[in-house]
Every structure is written in structure tokens, then in C-alpha cells.
């Protein structure tokens, strides 16, 4: 029996959230915190909690879960970008990670130069890049622009070039984060084909995606993460339906019983009114305000079941939640576009301006669209073709 190629043993990753601080430290903060105590409230937060699993050589494993379940953190730990707070990982093969395509691309350098730079950053040797250079260029389809600076490329061309370099990596273990959502449909197909070849060639793949169809087609084994812990592991055919059906069970309302010193949502209740394509989402929400808060407003993110964001509704740009020490309640109405039948999430957000957040309850409530859109696509559909259905008609024939 061969030893597993990856042994993940009880890893945790802890972050300290400073409620009173900027995302980065300034020296002034450090200096002043010496003098004032208790002002900065630290809250510990586990992005990954006591996670253990093994990966056998040649397995391709899909990692799924909602936003914030710890998927990206897990990949970052596996690719050595950030260390775990505790626990350890034993790896018996060299790992290449693709948390993004085109890492290190520089707009001033030409396509040719960027192939070498990016390849080298990804861990390829110069000789290796040289020997695969023609294949890479061929795969990307940008021969004509090889000696043009990258800044003159369209974003699609940049992505194609980036993916092409990555596609020729040959590590024993490959870690991939959502990089397939690039380029046009044709190029996506090409990428998926390449990925399939990679997994069939016996290499080990860890793949994170919101696109469950892709996960299903590439990975035989799926791990479901929830709040930093492994909720389920098994065949794609059992885990994915479980994930879709559970999703935290249908919740059209949500309540918080946390006692916080900062302004926050306490209650949320949503309902869908009307018929396609003139659906309205009625959102009832309660907020607990404080004396020292700045006047705030809210935003509602609408997400597909897969976690892909569809849009954001901002009922009022004018801050309308005034400071006081009480509960306040509001009703908001969101006009929905024509949507493909299925389940959707809503994430309420509250803050005084876009760069400061008081509360953000990710995907805390969900709603279901049952009837098909009046115009356009009907169920069943492919998620990669999108979720909302624009009204369309032939105006001349």
C-alpha cells in the first residue's frame, strides 16, 4: 500500500479580527495600543478548524462549499503561501498552485517575456519553458502579438496567455482555484479538455470551484467544507446533491441573537412577489443601531446557489440608518430580472460607506424561483450560461 501523497493532519488557521482597525497596521496603531487598553476588541476567527484528510496519488479532488467556508484558505496553506496556526501537512510530491492565472504578469513586458517570467514564478525551469514555448504559444493562439507589450492585449488575450502557461506545468500535485472561469466558451472548453488530460495522466489535483458541473466532470472525489470544517467527503454524485439540497436548509428568514457592540442586522425575512419577468423581492430587515455609529445604508448581494454573485441591490445611496440606541425596522423592494428557476442567496450588508463594513451576513437567507422566465431560456440549463434571463426578441427577419 502506497503512502498517501498528501496527509493533512489537524490543521487550523486562526485570524484575529480587530474591530477597530484598518486592514493593515500602522505604526501609530501599534504605538498607541501600548497606551490604551481594551479599546481594540480582538475576536478570534477560525478560517480552518481542525481539518484532516488524506489524498491518494492520482486522485482528483474537488473542494466545494459556500463563500467563506475556508476553501481558499485551505489552498493557501497547501501552497505554502500562509502557514497553518497549528497542525501539519505532509506532502510527498512537488506542489504547483494556481490560485490565479497570470501571477506576476507585467503589463510593460511583451507576451514572450511574460511567458518566461510567469513560468518561472510558477516554478518551471528556464529550459523547461524553452522546450514548451512553442506549445504554449500555440495553445494560447496569440502568436501574432508575442512581441507586443501585454498592456496592449485585450483582457481575454491576457487570460488565454496566462492559462496557456499554467496548462503546461507538470507538478505531481496541482492546486487550482477557480481559474477556469476565463475566456470565451471555446477557450473554456479547451481548458477543460486540458484539465481532463492532466487528471487522466495520473497527476493529483485539488480543485476549488463554485461551478459544480465542472467539479463533477473533473473530480471523482469531493470534499464539502462548511465553516472551516469538513462536512462531508465522498463521490461527486453523493456530495454535490447533498450540498445543493442542504445548503443550510431553506431559510427565508434569519435571526441573530448575538450581542454585539457594533451596529448589526438582527432579523431578515424575504419573500418573492409577482411573476416572471416582473418579480419583486420584498426584504424586511431589522437593525440594531448604536449611538456612536455613522449614518449607514444597506446593500443586498444576490448570489446563485453555486455562490456566484449575480448582482447587488442598493435601495438607497443616502445613508438612512441614523445613530440611536435602538432596533429599527425597514422594508425594501428589489426588482428582480428574469431568473432561471432555482435557489438564490441573499447577503445583506450594512455600512456607512463602501469601504467600511458594520455587518455583512453572507448568504444568510435564500429564495426560490419556481416558474420559468416568460422569455428566453427554460429549465434545465447550464449554469455556465448564467442565471439571469434578459428579455429578448427578434425585431427584423
Amino acid at each position: 500500500m502506497m503512502k498517501p501523497i498528501l496527509e493533512i493532519k489537524n490543521i487550523s488557521k486562526k485570524f484575529r479580527i480587530q474591530h477597530d482597525a484598518q486592514p493593515y497596521l500602522s505604526l501609530r496603531d501599534s504605538l498607541s495600543s501600548v497606551f490604551k487598553r481594551d479599546k481594540v476588541t480582538n475576536e478570534e476567527f477560525y478560517a480552518i478548524k481542525d481539518l484532516s484528510f488524506n489524498v491518494e496519488a492520482g486522485q482528483s479532488i474537488g473542494i466545494i462549499g459556500k463563500n467563506g467556508a475556508g476553501k481558499s484558505t485551505l489552498l493557501k496553506i497547501l501552497s505554502k503561501i500562509t502557514p497553518p496556526s497549528s497542525g501539519s501537512i505532509i506532502s510527498r510530491g512537488n506542489i504547483a498552485s494556481l490560485l490565479e492565472v497570470g501571477t506576476g504578469f507585467h503589463p510593460e513586458l511583451t507576451g514572450r517575456e511574460n511567458i518566461f517570467l510567469n513560468g518561472s514564478i510558477l516554478g518551471m525551469k528556464r529550459k523547461e519553458i524553452q522546450s514548451k514555448f512553442d506549445e504554449i504559444v500555440d495553445f494560447s493562439g496569440i502568436e501574432k502579438f508575442l512581441d507586443t507589450p501585454l498592456k496592449h492585449y485585450s483582457s481575454g488575450m491576457q487570460l488565454r496567455l496566462a492559462f496557456s502557461v499554467a496548462a503546461f506545468l507538470e507538478p505531481e500535485i496541482m492546486i487550482i482555484d477557480e481559474v477556469l472561469a476565463v475566456g470565451d466558451a471555446e477557450f473554456q472548453k479547451k481548458c477543460l479538455g486540458k484539465m481532463d488530460d492532466v487528471s487522466k495522466s495520473g497527476r493529483t489535483i485539488l480543485f476549488v470551484s463554485h461551478d459544480l458541473d465542472v467539479v463533477k466532470s473533473l473530480c471523482s472525489n469531493v470534499i464539502l467544507l462548511q465553516d472551516g470544517e469538513m462536512k462531508m467527503r465522498g463521490d461527486a454524485d453523493t456530495v454535490i446533491p447533498h450540498y445543493l439540497s442542504s445548503g443550510g436548509a431553506k431559510r427565508s428568514n434569519w435571526e441573530s441573537n448575538k450581542v454585539l457592540k457594533t451596529p448589526h442586522f438582527t432579523k431578515l425575512d424575504i419573500s418573492v412577489k409577482g411573476s416572471q419577468p416582473l418579480l419583486k423581492l420584498i426584504v424586511y430587515f431589522c437593525v440594531k443601531t448604536t449611538d456612536d455609529m455613522a449614518p449607514s445604508f444597506v446593500a443586498f448581494d444576490i448570489l446563485a446557489k453555486t455562490g456566484a454573485p449575480l448582482g447587488q441591490a442598493i435601495p438607497s445611496l443616502q445613508p438612512f440608518i441614523q445613530p440611536s440606541d435602538s432596533q429599527q425596522q425597514y422594508f425594501a423592494e428589489i426588482d428582480l430580472p428574469g431568473l432561471v428557476p432555482g435557489d438564490y442567496y441573499l447577503s445583506p450588508w450594512m455600512g456607512p460607506h463602501f469601504s467600511e463594513t458594520y455587518d455583512w451576513q453572507r448568504e444568510c437567507v435564500e429564495f426560490t424561483i419556481v416558474d420559468t422566465p416568460q422569455n428566453g431560456r427554460i429549465y434545465p440549463h447550464a449554469p455556465h450560461a448564467g442565471f439571469f434571463v434578459p428579455n429578448s426578441r427578434i425585431i427584423e427577419a
Partner: protein
């Protein structure tokens, strides 16, 4: 190949790993140099033009205010100082900001982080090589006119020592500032300020040795650039430099090197979380 990913604890230099990634030094340095001179009409000529223009200014100011120059032709005096000073100033500025400017890379992929500040210093050494060619030309010109005399053997011996002191001091301070900068963005403002302040404490425009207090030299020598520059000049001027001063500078550059390296290695694991 079996290895373990663990919480950050033990401290090592990681030389073996650096060696595995040796090609990345080349690519990062090459990128920095390429990008620096891309879309410029004069291109690499800037590496030479910058010190030449500064030399002209310093010489003119020196002439106007009759600043002592250790008996050297003014252009040679200031250019020899600028040669090493520019390694330090541009290397420090680049290395000090390198982790922040490369934050998007370090958040997405692993490689030994030390490669970034080292490559930044290597980039300044490239500029040095370009500027050095002009320096040799100048030296030959003044030698032929008989305005200076050179002790060729000591010049060849001293040059690597001066370069060594300058480079390790630049790297040490640069990597220290790079790791502080990623945690405390205040250092973004400290770096340019520090460079302009240090210029006045370095014998680039004027010889510091001419001061009234002999003991002050020993304090000035704490600045590694002091001896590096004076040492180089002493091979073609009639000034001499006491060995103690060189040792002081050497020690302080080694201290900078070790403390910068230590602090960098100690904090690098969390760069991706802080960037």
C-alpha cells in the same frame, strides 16, 4: 521528495531552497531592469546619465563654494562617491518597497520571499556596472592628463571590498525595511526621508574627513557607505583611511545584514496575511 508544512517556528537561512529557485533571481532582476527602462527613449543610458548629471551639479556647487575635494578633480571626486551611493540609495528604495509592490504575487504563490529584496539590490548593481564603465573612462582620462595617480593593485583589491560593504548594508537595511513596510506602511514615508538624510552624512558631495573633530570620524564610520567610498577614493587620491574606520564600517554593515536577514526570515511567513 517529502516535506512538511507546519506552523512557522524554526529559523533557518533556507539556502538550499534559495538554490532550488536560483533562476527566479535572474527573472525578477531582469524584470525590474526591463521594466525600469521600458518606454524610455534613452533606455539604459539613464543608468549612466543620472550619476553624470548629479556629478555635474555637485562639481559646479563644489566649485562655487570652494568645498574641499581631497586633491581630486571635482568630477572624479563626486562621481566616485555617487557610484557607490547610487547602489545604496536605489537599492534601498527598491528593496524597501519590494514586498509591498510585489504583494499581488506573494499573496498568490509561494517561493522563498528573500528572492524579492535580493533581486532589487541586484538591479541596482546592474546600474552600477553601467555607471562603472563611465567611471573607468574618467579615471583613464585623468590619469593620462597626469592629474591623478592610481595604485592599481590596491584599486583592484579595494573595489570588491567597497562593493561588498555597500551591497550587504543595502540588502540588510532593505530587507529590514521591506518586512517592516509590509506590516507598518509608515515605512513607505521613512525610506525616502532616510535616503536623503543619509546623503548628508556620506562623503559624496564633500569629504566628511575635513571636520574639526577627529573623533567624529569614528561615528561617521558607523555609516557603512563612509568607508566604502573613502576606501575606493584612497586608491587614487593622496588621502589615507585608517583601518579602524574600515573595520567599524564593515562591522556595522554586517550587523545591518544579519539583523535585516533575521527579521525578514522571522516575519516572512505572515507577509501574505499582511500584504
Amino acid at each position: 521528495m517529502e516535506y512538511e508544512i507546519k506552523p512557522h517556528e524554526k529559523l533557518s537561512l533556507g539556502i538550499k531552497e534559495l538554490w532550488q529557485y536560483r533562476e527566479l533571481f535572474f527573472f525578477f532582476t531582469w524584470r525590474d531592469i526591463k521594466v525600469k527602462y521600458k518606454q524610455t527613449v534613452l533606455g539604459f543610458a539613464w543608468a549612466v546619465l543620472q550619476p553624470i548629471i548629479m556629478m555635474l551639479i555637485f562639481s559646479a556647487v563644489g566649485q562655487a563654494f570652494n568645498i574641499p575635494n581631497e586633491g581630486l578633480p571635482r568630477p572624479l571626486f563626486s562621481y566616485s562617491g555617487l557610484l557607490l551611493w547610487n547602489i545604496f540609495s536605489s537599492g534601498l528604495a527598491n528593496a524597501g518597497n519590494s514586498m509591498v509592490t510585489n504583494a499581488n504575487i506573494i499573496k498568490k504563490i509561494y517561493f522563498p520571499r528573500l528572492i524579492i529584496p535580493i533581486s532589487a539590490v541586484l538591479g541596482s548593481l546592474f546600474d552600477f556596472v553601467m555607471a562603472f564603465v563611465v567611471f573607468i573612462g574618467m579615471l583613464v582620462y585623468y590619469l593620462l592628463r597626469g592629474e591623478v595617480h592610481i595604485n592599481l593593485l590596491s584599486f583592484i583589491l579595494v573595489l570588491p571590498i567597497s562593493l561588498f560593504i555597500t551591497s550587504i548594508a543595502t540588502f540588510g537595511l532593505g530587507s529590514l525595511l521591506a518586512s517592516l513596510n509590509i506590516k507598518y506602511r509608515d515605512f513607505r514615508y521613512v525610506i525616502p526621508f532616510m535616503i536623503s538624510a543619509l546623503l548628508f552624512l556620506t562623503p559624496v558631495m564633500y569629504p566628511i574627513s575635513g571636520s574639526h573633530f577627529q573623533w567624529a570620524k569614528y561615528i561617521f564610520a558607523l555609516n557603512p557607505l563612509y568607508s566604502a567610498i573613502e576606501l575606493l577614493r584612497s586608491t587614487f587620491s593622496n588621502s589615507t583611511l585608517h583601518i579602524y574606520l574600515v573595520l567599524i564600517s564593515l562591522c556595522s554593515s554586517v550587523i545591518l545584514f544579519v539583523s535585516g536577514l533575521y527579521y525578514f526570515r522571522k516575519t516572512e511567513a505572515y507577509f501574505a496575511d499582511l500584504a
